[in-house]
């Protein structure tokens, strides 16, 4: 081996030779240090890397060995995750695992290290190694990592990452930061040919990336989605300009008997005419109709998600990752489902507030008010069960706390817990039960109550309006339908743009052996309960109090006087001011608790 002039000038040549050999032999280790320094200095440091290379002497090659194999890998202007990994691999791993991830083959060992190729005996890794070196035990294997048959023990990128971050590099385990370990994982998969192109590995998608199989990442569908919404918006303009039939459809009459045909459910939804007062946006806010529309979107997107979701503890979170990362339009469908569910809670609350603040809960509508409130409870339960189905670190504590709340109920608490969870702690039984409740029982019940609620609206004389004006102007069925379609189209456009741009939350899969600093907050609509629970008894504050709030709101129409009929059809009727005030107090309290909880978790 040639000795560089710099070292030849040293006063103790023998020691200098030893150090030089150690330097060459462990140049990977030293380059790790160099790249560490450079990486922290500059993320886009491809040029700095090159500068580092020129200062690093390269061992003289054997005649058959292409010296270029020792050169730093070429990196794009804006390096990908795998590019960064390639540089780390070159600096840290290449010494033992080879330039192509072939492992410490004889060809590589002899080619790259020339005279020093007996790694276990030579100065740097022998018994009498210098300070920069370290002893290599003979039992150590240097397995290939980049070949097709390598890494047999790892199933997915997450498992590979877990090994790399804890075990590598051999002489200094745990010295790679998570970011670098991800970059390395990406590069190793790229060498193997199983890195999905264009994918950035991270904790929330790596479990879905197989080590031994290449999956294609679908193209970003956003452009198509925006074109779709654009066409829909144009079509909506066309619909607005469309003239409505002048003729008012007659109430259907049986020609033989001359009797009025009993109207079916759909003619209850859309009678030939309804009073114009009942369909003013300013009055109804369109909230009830929007809730029905969102329920339909939830039904469709939920059914689609069921094609790919796997309700077992081992697979649930991974199948969600697969939907998000690999299923074409999967992330979009999931985001639609998520955002519809969140908006539905808000829209239902707006609908409730509208009914309270227009005094529309009285007289014959008392019962339908209760039906609506039951629907709200169903919506919240559906949201919570759906949230749990992610089965990842993000829901872990909400599930634990939420179900343990049941145990606090006196007498029946433990039995109720076992009924809901299916055992002493959440496991496979809990997941399949939440799944059944979410996709079947609660959905079916909610569907039944939606139909009943809508039917009662007509049965109770339509949406509450002032009696005297009822017959003045009426709008036709076609007009009503047109308004509903417009609301739906506008809703669709907003929903699609939000879903294309804002991803639904996701967290790493639950693992028994680690505790991540996962989000420990409840879903947002339960934050007020979580805040209450911080101050004391779980049964009183977490069960009794929220139930009392719902029961009290449901009882208000029965406890207080109806709004004067003459005042119906207007916002804030005076005769309903007590109910309005009480509702405001409840709403402000819940809102304040929610905000307090949000501030606390910041």
């Amino acid at each position: 081996m040639k000795i560089t002039p710099a070292i030849r000038k040293d006063k103790k040549p023998l020691r200098a030779v030893l150090i030089a050999r150690a330097f060459f032999f462990t140049f990977g280790a030293i380059l790790l240090f160099v790249s560490n320094v450079l990486l922290t200095r500059n993320v886009h440091a491809s040029q700095s890397y090159q500068a580092g290379v020129t200062q690093t002497p390269i061992p003289s090659p054997t005649p058959t060995f292409d010296i270029q194999r020792l050169a730093s890998p070429a990196v794009a202007e804006i390096p990908t995750q795998a590019d960064e990994g390639a540089l780390i691999f070159w600096g840290v791993c290449i010494a033992c695992h080879g330039d192509r991830g072939q492992g410490l083959t004889d060809e590589w060992r002899i080619g790259a290290y020339d005279a020093d190729n007996n790694c276990w005996e030579s100065g740097c890794h022998g018994k009498d190694h210098p300070d920069q070196g370290f002893e290599l035990p003979k039992t150590l294997t240097f397995p290939p990592v980049g070949t097709a048959s390598a890494l047999g023990r790892f199933e997915n990128a997450q498992q590979l990452y877990d090994y790399v971050v804890v075990m590598m590099p051999w002489w200094k385990p745990r010295s790679l930061t998570p970011e670098k370990a991800w970059q390395l994982t990406a590069y190793i998969l790229k060498m193997k040919g199983s890195l999905p192109e264009g994918m950035e590995l991270e904790q929330t998608n790596a479990s879905a990336v197989p080590v031994h199989r290449n999956i294609k990442v679908p193209k970003n569908p956003n452009i198509t989605i925006f074109i779709f919404t654009g066409i829909l918006a144009l079509a909506m303009f066309g619909l607005i300009t469309r003239d409505l039939p002048e003729r008012v459809e007659q109430i259907p009459v049986d020609l033989k008997t001359g009797k009025v045909i009993r109207p079916n459910f759909f003619s209850h939804l859309h009678p030939p005419t309804i009073p114009a007062d009942q369909s003013r946006w300013r009055y109804t806010l369109g909230a009830g109709g929007m809730a029905v529309f969102l329920s339909l979107i939830l039904l469709i997107t939920g059914l689609l998600e069921m094609f790919y979701y796997i309700p077992t503890p081992e697979k649930a979170a991974i199948s969600v990752e697969t939907i998000v990362s690999f299923v074409p339009l999967g992330a979009f469908i999931r985001n639609l489902h998520y955002w519809s569910a969140q908006i539905l809670v808000v829209v239902a609350l707006i609908h409730l507030a509208r009914v309270i603040f227009t005094g529309a809960y009285g007289a014959q509508r008392k019962f339908n008010f209760l039906l609506g409130l039951i629907l709200l409870v169903f919506i919240v339960l559906l949201d919570f069960t759906g949230y749990v189905l992610r089965w990842d670190e993000g829901i872990r504590w909400a599930l634990t706390a939420g179900t343990n709340l049941l145990k606090s109920i006196p007498l029946i608490g433990n039995e109720l817990y076992i009924f809901v969870v299916g055992g002493r702690e959440p496991g496979p039984a809990a997941l399949i039960r939440f799944y059944s409740w979410h996709i079947y029982l609660l959905s079916l019940a909610a569907g039944f109550f939606i139909v009943w609620h809508l039917f009662r609206v007509r049965r109770d004389g339509g949406i509450a309006a002032a009696p005297g004006r009822e017959n003045k102007t009426r709008i036709t069925r076609a007009d009503l339908l047109k308004r509903e379609v417009l609301g739906m189209v506008i809703g669709s456009i907003v929903l699609m743009i939000v879903s294309a741009l804002v991803p639904a939350p996701i967290a790493p899969p639950i693992r028994g052996d680690t505790l991540l600093d996962a989000d420990s907050s409840a879903p947002w609509f339960f934050l007020w309960v979580q805040q209450l629970l911080k101050s004391g008894d779980p049964f009183l504050l977490g069960v009794v109090f929220p139930l009392l709030v719902v029961i009290f709101i449901g009882a208000m129409p029965y406890l207080f006087k109806d709004v004067e009929p003459g005042e119906l059809g207007h916002w804030f009727p005076r005769s309903g001011s007590i109910v309005q005030l009480l509702f405001i107090i409840i709403a402000v309290t819940i809102l304040a608790l929610t905000m307090l909880s949000m501030i606390n978790s910041l």
Partner: protein, 140 residues
């Protein structure tokens, strides 16, 4: 053809746009449902050292499912998937019988009784440099 009125044109344009959204939506739906969730089964199996399989003996490999026959000339592999409707055939009296619809094959995989009409598939099998038997899931 007369020039369409403004109203007719708008109606036509709106309907076209609505049709287009329907077509794109349907395309998206098909695209979404086209994803293959489960990995394909392995295309080859390493059956271990060739020396472990004595001459003249048939070895049933039910996890594949296939039967490995060592003749004097080398290895022959037959798929045990019934060519009728895919049930796994059972070894019986030197031949194979399908439990589902009663198809029968002889020891070489030829049909001796219907409903099946094609013989059991012969699979490619090789011994590699390391002396291991490699079974490829592809017909010869």
């Amino acid at each position: 053809m007369t020039k369409p009125s403004r109203r007719e044109f708008l109606r036509l344009a709106t309907n076209t746009l609505l049709g287009l959204t329907g077509a794109i939506g349907l395309g998206g739906l098909i695209h979404f449902l086209s994803y293959e969730m489960d990995p394909a089964p392995p295309s080859q199996y390493d059956l271990g050292s060739a020396g472990d399989y004595p001459r003249g003996l048939n070895t049933l490999l039910l996890h594949i499912p296939a039967v490995l026959i060592r003749t004097d000339d080398g290895f022959i592999a037959l798929s045990l998937v019934c060519t009728h409707l895919g049930c796994t055939v059972e070894y019986k009296d030197g031949g194979y019988e399908c439990p589902c619809h009663g198809s029968k094959y002889d020891g070489k995989g030829l049909v001796t009784r219907g409903p099946s009409s094609t013989p059991l598939k012969r699979l490619r099998v090789e011994v590699n440099e390391a002396g291991n038997v490699i079974l490829y899931m592809e017909p010869i």
